[in-house]
Symmetry: C2
Amino acid sequence: MPSSASTRGRGPGLHHDRRRTEIADAVLVVVAGRGLPAVSLTEVAAHAGVSPGRVQHYFPTKQKLLEAAFDRGNERSEERIRARLGAGTADAPPAEVLAVVLDELIPHDEESRAHLRVRHAFNAGALADDAIAERVRRLYAGLHGSLAACLARAGGREPAGGHEAAAVALVAQAEGLAYHVLLGTTGAPSARRTLHAALEAALAR
Amino acid sequence: MPSSASTRGRGPGLHHDRRRTEIADAVLVVVAGRGLPAVSLTEVAAHAGVSPGRVQHYFPTKQKLLEAAFDRGNERSEERIRARLGAGTADAPPAEVLAVVLDELIPHDEESRAHLRVRHAFNAGALADDAIAERVRRLYAGLHGSLAACLARAGGREPAGGHEAAAVALVAQAEGLAYHVLLGTTGAPSARRTLHAALEAALAR
DNA sequence: GGCTTTTCGATGTGGTCACACCGTAAAGCT
DNA sequence: AGCTTTACGGTGTGACCACATCGAAAAGCC
C-alpha cells in the first residue's frame, strides 16, 4: 500500500484520486437528482461518462461508493464555507462563522440546493444503514462542537442547556427550515430571516 | 365504484378497508425498520402475513401502496394527537394544542419513534418523487395553517414574519430536533426542553 | 527489456423486483 | 338460479441489480 498522498511508487497511478473524485461527484449528481435509491453502478457510470467496470474498479462495493460520495459532499461543503470566510478562517470572529455556517445550511443557489438535497438523502439513509449513520453522527459531532465553541466565544452568558444544546438547536432549526425550502413549502428569504433571528436570540442571551 | 364509506353494494366486500389498512400498516413497519427502499411487494406481504397476490390485488402499483401507507401514517398520528387532547379537541386552549402537537413531533416512545422514522423517510422520498411531494406539501400546509391559527389565538402580538412563518419555524425546529434524537446525537429530554423554550418564546412575543 | 501492478472494459451470474396474467372461488346482486 | 364482480393464490416475465471474473492494455519499477 502506498503512502497515502503519494503519486508515485508501485501503488495507484497519477490519476487515481482524480478519477475517484470524478466518480464520487457523479454519485452526488444522481443523489441530488433522484435520491439515494437511484444510485446504481450503471447509473453512476453513465453520469460520470465512464464504463461500469471502472466504477467497480475504484469502488469494489456500493457501500464504499456511497461512503466516498458522502465524504466528497462534505469536503465540497467545507470548501464553500472556507471560501466564504476568506483567508483568515481560523481567526474569523465567531459571530461571523456562525452566520456563515448557518446560512450555508439554507439553499441559496443551485449548488447549495443540490448539496442540501444530498445531505437530506443521506440523513434519511442513516436511519436505515448503520455505516452511514456512523458517518453522519461523526459529522454532526464536529459541527455541533464547532458551533458550540463559537457560541462560547461569542456570547457571554451560558444558556440553560449549555452551548452544546444551543448549537444543536440552531442546526436543527436550520435543517428543518432548509427542508421546507427544498420542498417549496416556504421561501428561502423567509427561512433565512427566521434562522438569523434565532441566531441573534442565541447570541443575545 | 361504491360510495366511499359503503360496506355493501356490488363493490368491495366487508373486509376491504380493514385488509387495506392491515397491509398499509405492514408497509409502515417495513419503512420504520429499514427505510423506504426496503419496501417491496414480497417484503410487505411477508410482514403482513399474507400472500403477495393479495397485496397486489389491493394495491395495483407500488406507488399506490406507498401513498396509502403515507396516509395511514398520518391518520394514526392524528389519532394520537386527538387522544392526547381529550374529548374537547375543537375547543382546547390553543397553547395546549401547540404544546401537544409539537411534543408529538419529538420521539417519546417506540410508537412515536417508529412514526417519526417513517415521516423522515417519506420526507426524503418527497425530494425524489413528485407524487409523494404533493402529499407531503398538503400535509404541511394543513399543519402550518393549524399551528399559525393557534398562535394567532394564543399570542397577542403578530410576530415579524407573520404567524405562518412562526409556525413554520416551530415545526422546522421540532423536526430538526426529532431527527437528532432518532439518530442518537442528542437526547429526547434535551430536545423537548429546547422545543418548549422555543414555543414559550413564540407565545411571549 | 523483463516484471509487477494498476487500470478498466467486457461478460457472466444469481438474485430480486414490479407487475402481468391466469384460474378458481366466493360473495352478492337481480 | 344465474350472472357479475370481487378476492386472491400462483406463476411467469422482462428488467435491473450488485458483484464476480477474465483478459488485455498500460503504467511504472528494476
